[in-house]
């Protein structure tokens, strides 16, 4: 937004209630109510838009906020806080905290669940909360003849809570005038927007987006999915808590009916219509839907009725379009998802280049060969500091066993990666190579055996914890965060080495500003090193194939690994790209003493670069030795290389 438009917007927002009064429109009440829903939609956007979790029960948090205010600040429920000048200002914070707490309570056990199941779980909670509110208005507990609780009114039941204490500020007429409410909600809204926008552009915002794009890849890049999602859930809930408490105090009455499923869906409509993830879009979507719901439907009804009377059609004259509101909301959801899934304000995704284009461009501007001078200084420093001259192997795997049902994917596999070595892992398709990687990186729990990294066991650790210890990986089928930029992809890799938390992300103290600047500088240096220096702002999915492979390696390097697991890094590359990548791997080992474990089908690559090679077949290690030993090993030739291996080596064919 340009500066001038910004100033105009601020002026309009400030002047609006006075213009309204001067013209006698009396719309401030309705507009303030609408703004509460805008605030709710913004909170839901953190959950749905940022973290990509479909929440169908968000109104439950709204309810908790409102009822916390009601419980603490209403005479009906006998609250001792009621009537004190400071009550409201205290209660909104308690309400936000209670909602956030409920978010954690609901989220902690359920956020492991898959996306669509999670949606249903939130829906379940969204149903349970109003049922509980309805039924807790008259609680009697009877144990035998003893009644510890008799006719306790916890929630006001079906009648709700009425009245609720208003805020108090000296000289401000909250009791009689809607204008102070307007400004109160405006201030809360603007502060919330500010906080959300800063969260979005922080380490935490990147983590949310990474989770949304590809949870497994994020986990393997050092982002803890559970705590990241939980944070989104709790933060989203706390905004609903603010909104709910203000809503209760403004309306002076709350009833369970205001927090039903339909409210959650209306809020979802606002987020989806505007464009999940875009703050401006969500504000726009929320305003459009509120105006549609409160103004357009009723006004159009008048219009159509007038038309019906004029034309003499009784059916039209009696129509009530407000009865159609849920039809229109439903239709809106369907149409937006079908026609413009990114929402009104969302960026239209540029189409990914066709495969042919990618190959062509790869041929035209092949990546420059890696240079020693290009190795980022910071990476050299960090990795050298970590490798404290300890001579023990980086990775020691003993007797690793994994069964899937009746299939033994790994059977008593031993493997050692000495410090600074490149170890090849080969074998026919289905031999268990990727399962081995998945087990070492924590995606799959072994059924037996030991995995020790730098002297400590990593069995049972979550993938992100293993990344933090110093093991990074790439995937056989590239798993970038496709809609994030190239630079952001690398920044997510740095996630586990950065420390900014919510307060830091919002208030940006100098330490956080410096950390963020350093992170970007490091990411750019890494990109330059792998030959993507000029592509930092491109969207990752638009990169050519070979570039995507190298970006994945840059992202892995950003986690400051001491051991790099590469799963078929040259698959699908042309000979030139393969050579560049092989040089890169060699360079990393030579200059940074980085240890590499490599799955590779290209025999030329694996034989040329590996210090030692382990061969798997049907989950069992059938050979281990230097490349020349492996090439002559009878069982390897029989199981994998084939008897015609010598010819094949002469003319290597790309194996999928």
């Amino acid at each position: 937004m340009s500066r001038r438009r910004g100033i105009l917007l601020v002026a309009a927002l400030l002047a609006y209630p006075f213009v309204d009064r001067a013209l006698g429109l009396q719309t401030v009440h309705a507009v303030s109510d609408g703004m509460i829903y805008v605030l709710l939609a913004l909170g839901l956007n953190i959950v749905v838009g940022y973290a990509g979790l479909l929440d169908l029960g968000y109104a439950a948090f709204f309810a908790i906020g409102a009822y916390t205010m009601g419980l603490l600040n209403s005479p009906v429920l006998g609250s001792p806080l009621y009537g004190h000048a400071w009550s409201f200002w205290l209660c909104i914070w308690v309400a936000a905290a209670m909602s956030a707490l409920l978010g954690v309570v609901i989220g902690a056990p359920t956020l492991r669940v898959r996306g669509d199941y999670l949606a249903i779980i939130t829906l379940g909670f969204g149903e349970i909360i109003p049922v509980a509110i309805r039924n807790l208005g008259d609680v009697t507990i009877e144990i035998g003849g003893w009644r510890p609780v008799e006719r306790l009114n916890l929630t006001g039941g079906e009648n709700g809570v009425n009245p609720v204490g208003r805020p108090f500020l000296p000289g401000v007429p909250f009791e009689t005038d809607p204008v102070p409410w307007y400004f109160l909600i405006l201030v809360i809204g603007v502060v919330s927007l500010f906080a959300m926008s800063r969260l979005h552009d922080s380490r935490l915002g990147r983590a949310w987006m990474a989770i949304r794009e590809d949870e497994t890849a994020a986990d393997c890049t050092g982002v803890n999915p559970i705590s990241t999602k939980l944070l989104a859930f709790a933060l989203g809930a706390s905004f609903a808590g603010f909104a709910g408490s203000v809503y209760a105090a403004k309306l002076q009455a709350i009833t369970p009916g205001a927090f039903e499923f339909q409210v959650s869906i209306m809020l979802l409509c606002m987020v989806v219509l505007g464009g999940a993830g875009s703050l401006g879009g969500v504000v726009l979507g929320a305003m459009l839907i509120t105006v549609f719901d409160r103004v357009i439907l009723s006004q159009t009804t008048f219009l159509v009725r007038g038309l019906g009377r004029a034309v003499g059609m009784p059916a039209l004259a009696a129509i009530d379009l407000t009865l159609w509101r849920w039809f229109f909301f439903g239709l809106g959801l369907v149409l937006v998802m079908l026609l413009r899934p990114q929402g009104l304000a969302g960026r239209r995704q540029r189409a990914a280049p066709l495969v042919d284009d990618a190959e062509e461009s790869g041929a035209v501007e092949a990546a420059p060969p890696p240079r020693v001078e290009a190795i980022p200084g910071w990476l050299r420093e960090r990795l050298m500091a970590a490798g404290d001259g300890n001579a023990e192997p980086v990775l020691q795997v003993q007797g690793l066993t994994k069964r899937f049902g009746g299939v033994i994917a790994l059977n008593q596999v031993d493997l050692v990666v000495p410090r600074g070595a490149i170890i090849g892992l080969i074998g026919p398709n289905g031999a268990g190579k990727t399962t081995f990687f998945n087990t070492v990186t924590g995606l799959v729990r072994p059924d037996g055996g030991r995995i020790s990294f730098a002297g400590a066991s990593v069995v049972g650790l979550r993938p992100n914890a293993i990344v933090a210890r110093g093991i990074a990986r790439t995937f056989q089928s590239i798993r970038l965060f496709p809609h994030m930029t190239v630079l952001e992809n690398v920044l997510v890799g740095e996630h586990c080495r950065l420390g900014a938390r919510v307060a830091g992300a919002v208030f940006r103290p100098p330490s956080v500003v410096a950390e963020e600047a350093r992170a970007r500088e490091r990411a750019r240096a890494l990109l330059a090193f792998v030959g993507l220096g000029d592509k930092g702002d491109d969207v990752a999915r638009n990169l050519a194939y070979g570039d995507q492979r190298r970006l994945e390696i840059a992202r892995a390097l950003a986690t400051e690994p001491r051991l790099l697991l590469l799963d078929e890094p040259t698959a699908g590359m042309n000979p030139r790209e393969t050579e560049t990548l092989t040089d890169l791997i060699g360079l990393l080992r030579r200059e940074l003493a980085l240890s590499v474990l490599l799955i590779e089908h290209d025999m030329e690559v694996v034989m040329g670069i590996s210090d030692r090679i382990t061969v798997l077949d049907y989950g069992t290690r059938i050979a281990e030795g230097t490349p020349s030993e492996i090439q002559r090993h009878p069982r390897v030739i029989e199981a994998y290389l084939g008897t015609g291996y010598e010819q094949e080596l002469a003319a290597p064919t790309a194996e999928p």
């Binding site: 990509g52 479909l54 169908l56 056990p109 359920t110 492991r112 669940v113 898959r114 996306g115 669509d116 199941y117 949606a119 249903i120 779980i121 829906l123 379940g124 909670f125 149903e127 349970i128 049922v131 509980a132 309805r134 039924n135 497994t216 499923f261 869906i265 979802l268 989806v272 009865l323 159609w324 509101r325 849920w326 039809f327 909301f329 439903g330 239709l331 809106g332 959801l333 369907v334 998802m337 079908l338 899934p341 899937f404 990727t434 998945n438 995606l443 995937f475």
Partner: protein
């Protein structure tokens, strides 16, 4: 609910109450099971929680009512009518809801086959709201009386001369007598026919099924068709048994049936049938022994607990996401 349902009363002993509520649970469960089958089949094949499915059931009730009205049926059918009009209306209702379900898939889900998984779920919610609103405008907000088409006879008293407080009527029997053959027919369809084989193959691995020459889109269409037909049958049974219908009942019943599908193990047809019965019993017992006001909360708690702690349900297979 309707007056013909055996409601426990004060003169019953505790075990008579239990038996009565278990019978109620059985008939409820039969309806849940029929709806749950539609959820589980669609989920099995395209991994979509078809949120609008409960509303197809609700419309099934109203549509069957419209068919009865068209045939001029306003009171209990007798003799030969039970063998002609009733099956005819069943068939027509099932065809109508099946067609409706197929149209919903074509319009709202099919364009999103390759979209992220949450996209069709959102359109499903949208469709659900549209269907409910249509029913609201069609029939109004108040509960609608469904014609009492099936004769209700107190079997124990009238046929066996047993003077019992427990009420078992011909309606209870007919619910089971319709549901059971439908399930057997579905089982035969899925396990013994070409189309059924295509469905099972597509559910296991859509791409491989496609590579093997199975027309995946047609298979999905058949799945929606069969699921919609079962929901229509469930709507008719519900109307016939309780003699009442309301525009929002699909949401409630749909969520309970979805809970049943999840409890049984989503994707598993036997599981859906079992889960339907379990939820039927539990909700009837909860109405009796806790309070009808809390039944929804209890059912949703079961849903949440199963999803969190045993997402494959009672009879489903463990599935792991591929890396």
């Amino acid at each position: 609910m309707g007056g013909h349902v055996g409601a426990p009363h004060l003169h019953m002993t505790w075990w008579e109450v239990l038996i009565q509520q278990t019978i109620n649970g059985l008939t409820r469960g039969a309806v849940f099971a029929l709806i749950a089958l539609g959820y589980t089949m669609v989920y099995g094949i395209i991994e979509l929680i078809n949120f609008a499915h409960g509303d197809v059931f609700m419309l099934g009730l109203f549509i069957s009512m419209a068919w009865f009205t068209l045939f001029g049926v306003t009171k209990a059918l007798t003799g030969w009518q039970l063998l002609t009009v009733l099956p005819l209306v069943f068939g027509l209702t099932m065809l109508t809801t099946a067609a409706l379900n197929v149209v919903i898939d074509r319009v709202a889900y099919r364009p999103l086959r390759r979209a992220p998984r949450l996209a069709p779920l959102i359109t499903a919610i949208g469709v659900s709201f549209m269907l409910e609103n249509v029913a609201l405008l069609w029939k109004g907000p108040a509960p609608i009386a469904y014609p009492d088409v099936f004769p209700s006879v107190d079997i124990l008293r009238e046929w066996f001369g047993v003077d019992s407080a427990i009420l078992v009527t011909t309606k209870d029997v007919v619910v089971v007598a319709i549901t059971l053959p439908l399930m057997v027919a579905l089982h035969v369809f899925v396990t013994r026919t070409r189309w059924g084989k295509a469905m099972r193959a597509t559910a296991q691995d859509r791409e491989t099924a496609q590579a093997m020459g199975i027309n995946v889109e047609r298979t999905i269409l058949i799945t929606f068709f069969v699921g919609g037909a079962l929901a229509g049958a469930a709507g008719l049974i519900q109307g016939m048994y309780y003699n009442i219908g309301q525009w929002w009942m699909g949401y409630q019943a749909g969520l309970r049936a979805f809970t049943a599908a999840v409890l049984g193990g989503i994707g598993s047809m036997g599981g859906a049938a079992l889960g339907g019965l379990v939820i039927g019993f539990l909700s009837a017992w909860s109405d009796q022994y806790v309070s009808a006001r809390w039944t929804n909360a209890i059912v949703f708690s079961i849903l949440i607990l199963v999803l969190v702690f045993r997402p494959r349900g009672l009879m489903g297979e463990a599935s792991a996401d591929k890396v």
